[in-house]
């Protein structure tokens, strides 16, 4: 039983990370109807920038100057500022020119953007695997282990707490403030939003900045665990099924969807082999080990299943075609 609980917790913690990435997608999709294919690479780029600043890397030269290395408290705000500049550039050079274009054109632009991010990140900060050391606590949480015999890594708890705070701040921001209201207005009806003087450009810059910050958080958490390297950008692939589950426009959907997928894939990976082997016992001999690699595709199977029965996602509004 304890082992099940441990599995659920570690699944939930991974799930929060997926939620974070999915949240970036949702924000941008809500405000501009653009599917930001580059969200994963954005996380990589943000993490690379942070590592670069922390270790005093001089951009485009691939050399470090330790004298320029910034402390954590300065490097994080500066990275956020860089993500803001990125948002401004994306609005100015891409979105502004593609308003009212077909979805597929916007999508292609995002695919292009992904490679630009990747290339620029490489050129600026180098392509070697980097260690991200923010002084986050490592190892297991002793107290839980001693008292409840549960093994939970500290860094995962920190990640979960950060994600929870971020999600709360964003939720309040988009629910309660003028800019939040403007964002929802734009998501609801472009023309009406324009008619009351809401500036689409500002809203886009704001959501892309927010997505950049969320990407930074995801990149940092992932990078602190497994190093900052190209594979980090692949977390975007995990966010896709989360979006299908939660609905492309729902913030709570992104959160719940992430948790379901995180927990689900861990449980399936750990227990499905034995269960299936037990079910077929006596009929055919099944090696439980065969099912140990489900983590990579379980999420997609679940998503496909969902697409068949609830294409708008758990929280998404019902899709009604206007005629």
């Amino acid at each position: 039983m304890l082992f099940v609980l441990e599995t659920v917790i570690s699944g939930a913690l991974a799930g929060i990370m997926y939620s974070l990435v999915a949240l970036g997608f949702v924000l941008i999709f809500k405000a501009s109807g653009v599917f930001n294919f580059s969200q994963g690479v954005m996380a990589l780029f943000a993490a690379l920038t942070l590592v670069g600043l922390l270790s005093g890397t001089i951009p485009f030269t691939n050399t470090d100057n330790p004298a320029l290395a910034l402390p954590v408290w300065a490097a994080i705000p500066l990275t956020i500022f860089v993500m803001f500049i990125v948002a401004v550039l994306i609005e100015k050079f891409i979105l502004r020119h593609l308003v009212n274009q077909e979805h597929i054109i916007l999508f292609m632009a995002m695919v292009g953007l992904t490679y630009v991010f990747e290339g620029v990140g490489d050129m600026m900060w180098g392509s070697d695997v980097k260690v991200l050391d923010l002084g986050l606590p490592q190892g297991a949480w002793d107290w839980l282990f001693d008292t409840h015999d549960l093994y939970v890594e500290k860094i995962e708890m920190v990640a979960a707490a950060t994600a929870a705070v971020l999600v709360t701040v964003l939720a309040v921001f988009f629910q309660k403030t003028r800019i939040g209201r403007a964002l929802r207005a734009v998501a609801d009806d472009h023309q009406a939003a324009l008619s009351v003087g809401i500036s689409l450009r500002n809203i886009w810059i704001i959501v892309w900045s927010a997505a950049g910050i969320v990407a930074l958080a995801a990149g940092v958490m992932w990078g602190a665990k497994s190093g900052v390297q190209f594979s980090l950008s692949l977390i975007a692939l995990k966010a896709l099924p989360v979006l299908i589950l939660g609905g492309f426009t729902s913030i709570p959907g992104a959160i719940v969807g992430g948790l379901i997928i995180g927990i689900g894939e861990k449980l399936v990976e750990v227990f499905s082999g034995e269960l299936i082997a037990a079910a077929f016992a006596g009929l055919i001999e099944i090696d439980p080990g065969v099912f140990s690699a489900t983590e990579n595709w379980f999420a997609y199977v679940l998503a496909l299943f969902f697409l068949m029965f609830r294409p708008q996602g758990l929280f998404g509004e019902k899709i009604i075609e206007r005629v």
Binding site: I179, R181, A182, R184, L194, S195, G197, I198, E317
Partner: protein, 268 residues
């Protein structure tokens, strides 16, 4: 909102907006052909005409959704080849839409609050925290919005997502959102369409009150000739994108071209 005296158009009143020789086409479709007219400060100016005459297109030109290929628009003394929606809104042009364009997922309150977008200036950092100045600002504007809600008699639907409201009330909320902008020029695209008699009468009363109490200049598209006769100071008539008449309701009503247009007499 300060009450201003209602200045009916009398030839001496100042011109708030004039469009000069405007033409607009979409590919082969000529929506507006060489139309000129003006709107004077404080008046209710009706725009009428059969379906497809170009009335909505004209409003879209005025608030910058459409950019005409030819002609100019002079608003508050400044002449432009085209308006931009953001400029129009910040210069005091508000509008409603023929097919209600509300933020369906938001409440009545939030919809009308969104009309205050341009007047709220609190910076994003305070807003992030929803603290201090941001909260204070929100409350001040809330007070203003409550006045509009009282004025339109929609207190009971404050907290209801507008998508769930009946059509007539949605139109009223949309008017509320436009009024929240404290506009100098209010563009109303068929505000009474699809309403029953009682709702129509209410809406007429609101339009008259806005005009009389706040001196707001109004451009009104309306099919119901009774309403137009009652409300409008002057009427411009469009047909197939052309202006075919312009004058007081009486003059327009007796104009042979107008009668022909409405009876569907063939165009040469």
């Amino acid at each position: 909102m300060n009450a201003a005296p209602n200045k009916k158009a009398n030839g001496k009143a100042e011109t708030l907006l004039s469009v000069e020789a405007v033409s607009l086409s979409f590919g082969g479709v000529k929506a507006i052909r060489d139309v000129s007219f003006d709107i004077k400060k404080g008046e209710i100016r009706a725009i009428i005409g059969p379906n497809g005459a170009g009335k909505t297109s004209m409003l879209n030109v005025i608030n910058g959704f459409y950019h005409p290929q030819e002609g100019t628009i002079t608003y508050k003394g400044k002449t432009r080849n085209q308006m931009r929606p953001h400029v129009a809104a910040s210069q005091g042009i508000a509008r409603t839409f023929q097919n209600v364009a509300l933020f369906k997922g938001m409440t009545t309150l939030d919809n009308i609050m969104s009309g205050r977008a341009l007047r709220m200036k609190c910076n994003i950092f305070w807003q992030m925290l929803y603290y201090g100045p941001a909260k204070k600002e929100e409350l001040e504007h809330r007070e203003f919005v409550e006045k509009i809600i009282d004025f339109l008699e929609i207190q009971h639907i404050r907290r209801i997502p507008v998508g769930k409201l009946p059509y007539g009330l949605q139109k009223r909320v949309e008017l509320g959102r436009a009024l929240a902008m404290e506009p100098d020029l209010l563009l109303l695209d068929e505000p009474m369409a699809g309403m029953n008699l009682e709702e129509k009468e209410d809406m007429c009363r609101f339009v008259v009150d806005v005009s009389e109490q706040y001196g707001t200049t109004i451009a009104l598209i309306e099919h119901d000739m009774g309403v137009v006769m009652d409300l409008a100071d002057r009427v411009v008539v469009l047909d197939y994108g052309r202006k075919i008449a312009d004058g007081t309701p009486k003059q327009v009503q007796n104009n042979q071209d107008v009668i022909d247009a409405y009876l569907g007499v063939s165009h040469d």
